[in-house]
């Protein structure tokens, strides 16, 4: 211990470090979603967070040496944290890596490992600062932890704001500066450090401030669609807009038109007119179509499968969910729909269509008969009291991402049984719900959607479900029509005529015969027809069970429509990998499994390695059962905390109907209230035994969590009509009790260790850090397979286990005996 007992805990610095670390984590996810794909981003960031675990292991070894130099150690780590936010980003970007080559080229694993190591360094340094402060100010652990959590909650809000105002790569600079600033503030707060550190910090800040922006430019994978388009002569990016919803790039191509027309009929003669492309996160291309009033130039819109409903009856009121840049809206307008409601979540896309490119689009979104609503699709459907002749779900994902299974873990509350039911309730009696999807072989989402539609119709107490569905396909896209009244013979005749004129196939309509299918776009077996008829039969459950991909309809409890993974099929595909079967693997899910395995292996190494050192240090011998208690306790609460946080985030996303506002309210609320709970626990330490505090906290967490499983759906339904702000406040009030209590177990147990076995604190920190990382991945895996209720139940069980294994065992040091 250093002689300067007047050192204060650097509260402001810790606040800033925690805020910056969380913001950096979120920002990295955003950046890697742009330069790679979303689930690979998830994998990289999960591993990087093991920097927290490494910190614990490191401090287990070096704690005495560092504590003797606490001021220098803290300031130094803080400055390194700030500096390495930028440095690690630059290095990681410079490492050439393509996830798809992992299968073909084993050396790619080394590059991946380097990326992990680079990105984990800032988290390592940040964690050192926090853990060292726990060790140095053992009697203030609860307060320090409270500041850590409150700082993280501020970071979660700030990063959302930052992403709206700054490009993600520039935001790196600001966070890096914030980290260095934290070090400089610590230099003042703690004192007793050298001027060299101050000068170093100032120099670092200056370097960060003046680094050219070109150095920070994002190096996007050349295999994403935006970089590929930009290799074509005459293309250029007109502008980029950033938000938490994605990085939007608007691209023009002067020489080679985009000609975006997914699934265009082979018999189409009209090619699409001039278009501007819009990419989200360098992929998922959509277009703004140039519309100067020439109707003929838009006739290609009538040669898509999504045009089918317009040929069945005249439409007066149409709603397009996920309108984006307006392709489906233009299609509706082309078919002379009187009133169109275009619903789009991303305000930046609407801004492009209503301002900058309004003229280009022929003022599409400013037309008198088109009402644009910036809102989340399902939320709007619930609030809207109108009824429609047609509701279209726009096809939002690009084929390559869809085909590779990279959406497997994107939850979607729009493709659940409950969502389809709610949408169907908004139809006029003769209205249609139309959903267009990419055709994938073997069939997956098209028939999963069909199964979902069957369940939705049954939920509406419709008994002759087979009369309410129609499915057509080209070789690239399929369109499913759902009605709440049976399809008529006239409609079926119109469908046949539509198909014949465009070389599309009917996969199902009421009364279809086997010899009418698979005639033009031929596949090996009439899979779509066979699936449709099986799903409408009494053997549907058996069919779903036996099907090689997961086509069980998604529900609000398991809203993972895009997860088609089955282990049995994976094993079969693995055996056929040399015949190209890897293309059929659902990589989103597999990446998650691979991430979990990697995290577990590294965690085991990080957690086990200090044990040997602890045994042979001068700090004495720790009983095996104490170490076991510490391991179980800190693992359990590390797992359980994030289980509950993630699940509640998902559940409240359904209530708030907006991913950003849900994330902001719930994440901020959890961290803030947990921080308050931690601070509160400090006061309770004087009044209650530590174990008792944990028992009370766990009891409260369990009761509230289990209660919420039962009552939240009802509460959500009751208050669904409220506007967004009251709902956000209400949501935060709902999570307040459980989050407050969740802030207690960790600092209380660390306080206990501080009294009974202080050298175990870094090890406990390592365990908790690793468990948190495992938890994020495991929660997603469990939710996909078993639903949110299972995750909550498991979290409650883990908290109970933790309470049982509270590490309250005093250790007699070897020194004391001599």
């Amino acid at each position: 211990m250093d002689a300067s007992h007047s050192i204060r805990a650097p509260a402001i610095s810790i606040l800033l470090i925690s805020a910056s670390a969380l913001a950096f984590e979120v920002l990295l996810m955003r950046i890697f979603s742009v330069i790679q794909w979303h689930h690979f981003a998830y994998m990289v960031i999960s591993l990087a967070l093991l920097g927290y675990g490494v910190s614990g292991t490191f401090l287990s070894i070096a704690q005495k040496w560092l504590l003797n130099r606490y001021p220098v150690a803290f300031v130094g780590n803080s400055l390194l944290f700030g500096l390495f936010i930028l440095v690690s980003f630059l290095i990681a970007q410079s490492i050439s890596f393509n996830p798809e080559e992992l299968f073909w080229d084993w050396t790619s694993y080394f590059r991946l490992l380097l990326i992990y190591l680079c990105l984990s360094l800032p988290f390592f340094f940040a964690a050192n600062c926090i853990a060292l402060t726990f060790l140095r100010f053992g009697d203030k652990i609860s307060k320090i932890y409270a500041i850590d959590l409150i700082g993280a909650s501020i970071g979660s809000m700030l990063v959302i704001a930052l992403l709206f105002t700054t490009l993600p790569n520039e935001a790196i600079r600001y966070l890096s500066l914030a980290g260095v600033l934290a070090g400089l503030i610590a230099w003042i707060e703690i004192g007793n450090t050298t001027h060299r550190l101050l000068i170093s910090g100032v120099c670092a800040a200056l370097i960060i401030a003046v680094i050219p922006s070109s150095w920070l430019a994002l190096k996007i994978s050349p295999y994403k669609s935006l970089p590929q388009v930009l290799t074509i002569s005459g293309t250029r990016t007109l502008e980029q807009l950033s938000s938490p919803l994605g990085l939007i790039s608007v691209v023009e191509s002067e020489q080679v038109p985009f000609r975006f027309a997914p699934g265009l009929s082979l018999l189409a003669t009209q090619t699409p007119p001039e278009q501007l492309a819009i990419f989200t996160d360098a992929d998922a291309m959509t277009v703004i179509t140039k519309n100067q009033g020439d109707r003929q130039s838009l006739s290609y819109l009538d040669y898509l499968t999504s045009a089918l409903p317009y040929h069945l009856r005249r439409m007066n009121n149409v709603m397009i969910l996920g309108a984006g840049a307006g392709s489906e809206v233009l299609q509706a307008k082309f078919h002379n729909v009187a009133n169109i409601v275009a619903v789009e979540l991303n305000p930046q896309i609407i801004e492009l269509l209503t301002h900058r490119y309004a003229d280009y689009s022929g003022n599409l979104y400013k037309s008198d008969n088109i009402e644009v609503r910036i809102d989340e699709a399902r939320g709007l459907v619930l609030k809207d009291n109108n009824h429609y002749d047609l509701i279209q779900l726009a096809m939002l994902d690009s084929f390559s991402a869809a085909a590779s299974g990279l959406y497997a873990l994107n939850e979607s509350y729009l493709y659940t049984v409950e969502a389809l039911t709610e949408i169907l309730r908004r139809l006029n009696p003769q209205g249609y719900l139309a959903v267009t999807r990419w055709v994938k072989l073997p069939p997956k989402d098209t028939i999963k959607l069909f199964a979902t539609a069957v369940d939705a119709l049954k939920l509406l107490s419709i008994t002759d479900v087979e009369k309410h569905l129609v499915l057509i396909r080209g070789w690239q896209t399929s369109t499913l029509l759902i009605k709440i009244t049976p399809f008529t013979l006239q409609e079926i005749a119109a469908i046949k005529q539509f198909n014949e004129k465009r070389a599309f196939d009917a996969a199902y309509y009421p009364g279809i015969k086997p010899d009418e299918v698979n005639k033009i776009n031929i596949i090996n077996q009439p899979y779509f027809y066979l699936a449709a008829t099986a799903l409408l039969s009494e053997d549907s459950e058996q069919f779903i069970k036996n099907y090689k991909f997961n086509i069980r309809p998604a529900t609000d409890n398991k809203p993972y429509f895009f997860n088609f993974f089955k282990w049995e099929t994976f094993n079969e595909l693995l055996g056929l990998r040399k015949q190209g079967a890897m293309a059929m693997v659902e990589w989103g899910y597999m990446l998650l499994v691979i991430t979990l395995l990697q995290v577990l292996v590294v965690s085991i190494l990080l957690i086990l390695s200090p044990l040997k050192l602890l045994k042979t240090t001068q700090h004495g011998i720790f009983p095996g059962y104490l170490k076991l208690k510490v391991f179980i306790y800190f693992s359990a609460i590390g797992l359980a905390f994030l289980f509950l946080e993630i699940v509640f985030l998902q559940k409240f996303m359904l209530f708030l109907h907006h991913p950003i506002y849900a994330a902001t309210a719930i994440l901020t609320g959890f961290l803030l209230f947990s921080g308050i709970g931690s601070a509160l626990s400090a006061r309770l330490l004087n009044k209650l035994q530590r174990k008792r505090i944990v028992i009370y906290a766990v009891t409260g967490i369990s009761v509230v969590s289990l209660l919420y499983i039962a009552i939240l759906p009802g509460i959500f339904n009751g208050f669904m009509q409220w506007s967004l702000l009251p709902k956000m406040i209400f949501s935060m009030l709902l999570i307040f009790p459980v989050a407050l209590l969740m802030g207690m177990p960790f600092p209380v147990a660390l306080s206990e260790l501080n009294v009974t076995s202080q050298p175990l604190i870094p090890w406990a920190w390592a365990i908790n850090g690793c468990a948190s990382v495992v938890s994020a991945v495991l929660a997603a895996l469990i939710a996909v397979q078993y639903g949110f209720t299972a995750v909550i139940s498991l979290a409650v069980l883990l908290y109970i286990v933790a309470a049982i294994f509270f590490p309250n065992q005093k250790v007699t040091f070897a020194r004391e005996k001599t």
């Binding site: 080229d105 590929q228 074509i232 390559s400 036996n546 040399k578």
Partner: protein, 245 residues
């Protein structure tokens, strides 16, 4: 069979001597034969789904003749004869040999046929087609790739392959119609002009999927009366979709 990896090590040791050039060539031949064997094995494995147990001997002969290593960047040459796609820059790849052979076989080419390729890429597919018919037309939109392919064809004296830099959407009207068309450039639909430039009785093949994982091949056929059908072919052995595990 000689272990060609050991041979590569020996060749490295001998590099700089005149002997090494001949030995390098022999090494590639050995690797190429291993690639042919692998393709033939894959065909047998996927026979139920592609409808045959062997490709056209002319196609296999073409695969055995064209030096794939000439079409890949230097840092990929040691992998040139592995049965896998390889990056060639600009976000493009040279396709997996099995897929190249399968697509070529599906086109059913003969010497009098005229074939159009949209998306020259490395030029390898064009060179394979050239072994089956002298009338090969290929279009590449990325200028550096087109130039590279032209240079490679010149080096290998494949003078009859006609390469054009530009937009392949409208095909190559001056030489239309075509008996066969391969569309390797990514597109979200089949360009109507290409359908129009396909002869009656002609075939068009389109690989679908990502650069590194072809998911399916779409065979577009125009019959003698001009009627269009498509057939989606899975290039992988995959038993029916339902069944016990």
């Amino acid at each position: 069979m000689v272990n060609y990896r050991i041979l590569s090590v020996l060749l490295f040791a001998l590099s700089g001597s005149g002997l090494s050039d001949a030995l390098f060539a022999a090494d590639y031949k050995i690797q190429q034969q291993a690639m042919i064997d692998a393709i033939q094995n894959d065909v047998i494995e996927t026979s139920i789904y592609i409808g045959k147990k062997a490709f056209d001997p002319a196609v296999m002969k073409a695969m055995a003749s064209v030096p794939r290593h000439e079409f890949v960047p230097d840092n990929q040459k040691s992998y040139a004869y592995e049965n896998r796609p390889l990056p060639i820059g600009y976000g493009q790849t040279i396709s997996q040999p099995y897929i190249v052979a399968l697509m070529t076989d599906l086109l059913n080419l003969s010497k009098e046929h005229k074939v159009l390729e949209i998306g020259t890429g490395s030029g390898y597919q064009g060179a394979i087609l050239n072994e089956l018919t002298p009338q090969v037309f290929t279009i590449e939109i990325i200028e550096p790739l087109a130039k590279r392919a032209i240079a490679t064809y010149k080096r290998l004296q494949l003078d009859n392959i006609q390469v054009r830099t530009g937009d392949g959407y409208f095909g190559w009207e001056e030489h239309a119609p075509f008996d066969a068309i391969i569309v390797t450039a990514a597109a979200d639909h089949v360009p109507p002009p290409l359908v129009q430039q396909l002869k009656n009785g002609g075939r068009m093949i389109i690989p679908v999927g990502s650069r590194f994982f072809v998911q399916q091949l779409v065979l577009v056929t125009k019959d003698s009366e001009g009627k269009i059908t498509t057939q989606q072919i899975l290039p992988v052995r995959f038993v029916p979709l339902t069944g016990k595990h």
